[in-house]
């Protein structure tokens, strides 16, 4: 057995490990802001959140940036986390490639879906015109 096993992982593995920590902090910051807005700045905190309130929030650029950042942080952190878990139990190369394909596909679909919602939600024209206060 002349093969040598490289210890410590590759450079890309090192960066992924680092990004897992950075995105974890990113998720914590963005989800904390979301929680405060949801529970302390809501127009009716005791009642279910309404379509009008969410649409109004998503029509503001700062909230769009916040939720887009949340999607980037949360989807990377979550799906890379799933990869780290799966990699510990799957040892055959075909199974790892299969898992990576599923995770990259699912996270890409969720990201495109989420970003589309965040950036294409506008108040109905009647609210935009100020006829009904948001």
């Amino acid at each position: 057995m002349n093969e040598t096993i490289k210890q410590g992982g590759s450079d890309s593995g090192h960066w992924l490990w680092f990004l897992q920590r950075i995105t974890g902090v990113g998720v914590l910051v963005t989800i904390s802001i979301h929680w405060v807005v949801q529970h302390f700045m809501s127009m009716s905190p005791a009642l279910p959140i309404t379509y009008e309130e969410v649409i109004y929030r998503l029509s503001q650029p700062e909230f769009r940036v916040l939720y887009a950042l949340f999607l980037v942080f949360a989807l990377f952190h979550g799906f890379h986390g799933l990869w780290m878990v799966g990699r510990d139990y799957l040892h055959a190369q075909w199974s790892r490639i299969g898992l990576a394909t599923i995770l990259i596909t699912a996270s890409t679909i969720l990201f495109v879906w989420g970003v589309t919602i965040v950036f294409t939600s506008y108040p109905p024209p009647i609210v935009q015109a100020g006829v009904i206060p948001p």
């Binding site: 529970h39 878990v85 939600s121």
Partner: protein, 135 residues
């Protein structure tokens, strides 16, 4: 390989080599909660996608989430998020700030902080509802 005897019929405990100590339990719960939270993100995106179907569809979905069963689920979700976040901070502390020497103490200190945050969060979430009932 001389001197090592392999049993062909190893017991379950020999296969199940996890050792139950603070770090290992925290590691296992962190992974389980992480899997759950990733699934929740997908469900959350699906819920918010009801915005595209108009006010009736979206408000009906949100009304469903305000039923007692989902409120219990919300409390559990909150507990899971706080555990995952606090243990995640411990991992960062150990990785970047030399916390390995006192990681057990750090774990329990953060769990106390998690409990305080959990109680504060529950009060903040449910107090407006109690006030509404009393009105």
């Amino acid at each position: 390989m001389e001197g090592i005897k392999y049993k062909w019929t190893a017991s379950f405990s020999e296969h199940f080599r996890y050792k139950f100590h603070t770090g290992m339990v925290a590691w296992a719960i962190h992974r389980i909660t992480g899997i759950g939270l990733t699934i929740f993100i997908a469900i959350h995106i699906w819920s918010i996608s009801h915005l595209g179907s108009g006010p009736e569809s979206f408000n009906a979905t949100m009304a469903l989430y305000s039923t007692p069963l989902f409120k219990i689920g919300e409390v559990m979700l909150f507990a899971v998020i706080i555990f995952h976040a606090m243990n995640g901070l411990r991992i960062i502390w150990v990785d970047f700030f030399g916390g390995a020497k006192y990681h057990k103490k750090l774990f329990w200190a953060l769990m106390v902080a998690a409990m305080v945050l959990f109680i504060m969060g529950i009060v903040a979430t449910f107090l407006p509802m109690i006030n509404l009932i009393n009105l």
